[in-house]
Symmetry: C2
Subunit: 256 residues, 2 copies
């Protein structure tokens, strides 16, 4: 009855410059935090929108250099999408899950089921025919960023790379975790007991996705001004598992 | 470049007593906040786990008083679930969406597609054969709580009632918003322009679900010790729309 209230803080980091291929995002973030007098503490979680990671990694494709395959041309007709974009999406995918008018849902190489393989067409470097791919391996990106932040600050933080997705059966977009370093994807209550000693049988919380959504509350302001959030005060389980564990294996899908 | 960092605080409120039918949850929360010296400010968001709302509303069913219908008996066989539980689930539902071994997915009266109509079997008042239904109308519950908190404190807060659910295609549970008062379910960027003047065509963020997930980071500690979170510092759009707008209409489902 006399426990202290838990308090988590989610701090948005504004004012990052336009990120270019080869940029050291970790250094840019650390410098920006310094300018804002935001201390980075052991165990903080740094949530980073995949878009700036992709830009730093040069995951930019000029559609004018893309020749659509026969398969891409056919899917472009079904979906009403640019055949060159469809070609790029197919190259990022292992499987087309749904192709209907207006929607191309695929499974990416990492097992993520999403529209357009997460390829961002909204605007890249101000060029109309330029699209941005997801990081090649978001877990690897997260681990590199975590390592680099440790080099720069001496602090062990967790890194979560996020992206915005629609959801089956539910309206609206939310942010989810696509790359992880230093934090487990789940908080597992299975087999644990509640206050009264009853076993909690089914609960395994996708805590990395919840943190992604929480961070979006400061990140997602509709521009690229706040691509990074720092989360302080959250107790979480350390680990090096892949964010791809959050993707349900196809044999378990109830909804197809 | 010189904008101030945004900071959101999520404060878990521990130590609430076991909630009983007829309890004034708003008053209990306000008193508890007072004891912890947590001020309630205009525009704060109070996130409340549906479980305590259901308990206060007396949404408790003793399965020993439930006689399963023929339909319930049949679905119990298919799913391997207690026929009395299946009967209770059917009474809360407008439609069975999926019934397979181990899973009974329905559409509730409010349009929410979820397992077991959100009926909680984990433990209710320590009795084995007792289950807890969702609040009869979670939006109405949220509005009453919002009104009562205003009466008690003079402050206009938003109220979000949440529950824990699995997700199609994605592993693990997260919290989602099932009842809203004083906050819009979505933050709508459609038609708005980003920093470079490009139109953001598709983004409509399910901000109420994101807040539910954010609150779960303090609420969801595997017991009933923290059923309430206060969110401070988040700028959101006020409104009185129903949380049921977050449920995708069946004709739009890509995954069935």
């Amino acid at each position: 009855m006399h426990r202290t209230p838990l308090c988590i803080r989610i701090i948005g980091v504004p004012g990052l410059p336009e990120i270019k291929p080869g940029d050291d995002i970790a250094e840019i973030i650390v410098n920006r935090l310094h300018e804002y007098n935001i201390s980075l503490d052991e165990g903080d979680i740094i949530v980073i929108a995949s878009k700036i990671v992709s830009k730093a990694e040069g995951r930019i494709v000029d559609l004018n250099n893309v020749t659509p395959s026969a398969k891409a041309l056919k899917l472009a007709e079904v979906t009403g999408k640019d055949p060159r974009l469809v070609e790029v999406v197919l190259r990022e995918s292992v499987k087309v899950v749904k192709a209907v008018k207006g929607h191309l849902i695929v499974m990416t190489k990492h097992g993520l089921v999403c529209a357009n393989a997460g390829v961002d067409v909204s605007n890249v470097a101000g060029r109309r025919d330029t699209v941005l791919l997801l990081p090649e391996d978001p877990d690897v990106s997260a681990r590199k960023l975590r390592k680099r932040i440790r080099e720069l600050t001496g602090k062990n933080v967790a890194v979560i790379i996020t992206d915005t997705y629609g959801r089956p059966l539910r309206e609206g977009h939310i942010d989810m975790a696509i790359g992880l370093a230093g934090i487990k994807p789940f908080k597992d209550y299975r087999g644990k007991r509640d206050l009264k000693g009853y076993i909690l049988r089914v609960k395994r919380v996708a805590v990395a996705d919840e943190i992604a959504s929480a961070a979006e509350l400061v990140i997602g302001n509709g521009d690229e001004g706040i691509p990074v959030a720092i989360i302080k005060g959250l107790v979480y389980e350390r680990g090096d598992e892949s964010a791809s564990l959050l993707n349900m294996k196809e044999e378990k899908w109830l909804f197809k």
